[in-house]
Symmetry: C3
Subunit: 212 residues, 3 copies
């Protein structure tokens, strides 16, 4: 047993909640991918409702983490870091939800390929976030945590690239300015979800920095 | 007298300044509400000048807080938290100011209802922020602080909803893309003011987390 | 020798890297200024490649700082502050790079004056950031650090002003909505570079607050 594991107090409250939060995030990301690829309007509507539902579940998990914070004197990491990490995970889900709401509100029927690409990147990021959080538990595999964070960072770069190229393509092909505004709003919400995923990874990295 | 009150050093410098900052914010929010509801162009211009003036007052208060920070060795909370809270309150005012400047610069005459709705939400948030800051003083009513922060969080959700619905309505009714861009810019600045209010509430919550 | 200097451990690793990071940032800002003023398409393309190259150099410096963080037990400042400062400097460069990429991707030939104005402000900010970082080294001139941070703050206000006025002018003169969207995107990326410069200054100010 390494020294890091000795330093981290055994915790049975926060880690299961963080794991729930990232598992719920993976679920929502999967539904997002289904939703942006289906061509059946009724199915899409249904999947948007499901994302809404998963967003509420995420809110509840976040509140449970905050409640544990106010109830427990001893925490596995600095209280502020637990607060920041829970908030960042919640933010990713908020932007998944915001993206799906935009598709409905703006009555967008056909979605550009970049929407599907970004949804895939969000799912990959959520899976890496889950890997990082699970391994944070007893610091048993610091390398795995670091690698997951590095992957999330490069996924954010990839999302940035997809966003920039698709906006450029949009300017080339789409001549209806209002359509451009709508699509730009949607792509921007999806891209921000990957930014928030990176924020979560940065919080995890700064936890590692304190404890390593 | 509770243990929390014993732990918080008696402070006569920071809390009066924080109180001034949030009272000034309430004033600016009230002028914003007047400004977006008046139909008299001259009156609107005058109220925009008043917001500009209050923004300068806010800047001065923020600088006084920063000066006290560099002069005082003992502070009622972590220095970084005082810095973060003062900055967040200042940011809310900056976006109130930015919104009013946009109305003038973009020569917007008729404003959509959502502008009025968002201005009302900003005022409500400012009042709650003042409640939280006043009670932070001697931690005499932690429940009141928590409740104010919860309200600010749900006000931000409400603002998000107003923003999303009004942009959707805009796409339905407005066919002039340039008009859509202008209104979107204004609504987005107002909505960001409520985000900054939430940032301030989050800072207050993380202060509570450290001291509770 | 003042007490501050005694408190700051002699450091031979982080400060040279921070100095490299801000010097690289100055280089990129200079190339940005050249790039937005040249009228020769081939020259512009070449300068955009150079910014890309300097962005990679910046990434490497940032990673070296993060590596030192995980290798060194004793750091001249709080580990989180070193992490935050390195990230903020990296962010400025990211938005310089993002701006130049937009010019290429959106095939923008003639650039409005505001683009040149903002590029100049970014260069001035980078120079001040370098001054602050160099003086942070042994805290030998706290006044110089504070002054640099104050200047960066007022440069950000200036950028905000340039941005707002140019968007207003754009609405007056440009009748092509798609053109407005493109220019707004570019100006907004440039303006965000000055925001990130302010974030870096705020991090430096909060380091000062802790050690002063």
């Amino acid at each position: 047993m390494g020294i890091l594991q000795l330093l981290v107090p055994k915790d049975r409250k926060f880690f299961p909640l963080f794991q729930q939060a990232t598992e719920n995030l993976i679920k929502a990301s999967k539904v997002l991918n289904e939703m942006v690829t289906t061509t059946v309007p009724e199915k899409r509507k249904e999947l948007i409702r499901e994302i809404e539902h998963l967003e509420h579940t995420g809110d509840n998990i976040t509140h449970m983490i905050f409640n544990e914070l106010s109830r427990n004197f001893i925490t596995p990491f600095d209280r502020e870091d637990i607060h920041a990490l829970a908030s960042a995970i919640d933010d990713v889900l908020d932007f998944i939800h915001g993206s799906s709401k935009r598709i409905e509100l703006y009555r967008m029927d056909t979605l550009p390929d970049a929407v599907v690409n970004l949804a895939e990147i969000i799912l990959k990021g959520s899976i890496e976030l889950n890997v990082a959080v699970v391994n944070l538990k007893n610091m048993k595999d610091v390398t795995a945590i670091k690698e997951a964070c590095v992957k999330i960072n490069s996924l954010e770069n990839e999302a940035d690239d997809v966003f920039n190229r698709s906006i450029a393509a949009l300017f080339e092909t789409e001549k209806d300015a209002i359509q451009i505004i709508k699509i730009k709003e949607l792509l921007s919400a999806l891209e921000t979800a990957t930014d928030k995923c990176e924020d979560a990874a940065n919080t995890i990295q700064s936890i590692l920095i304190k404890y390593a």
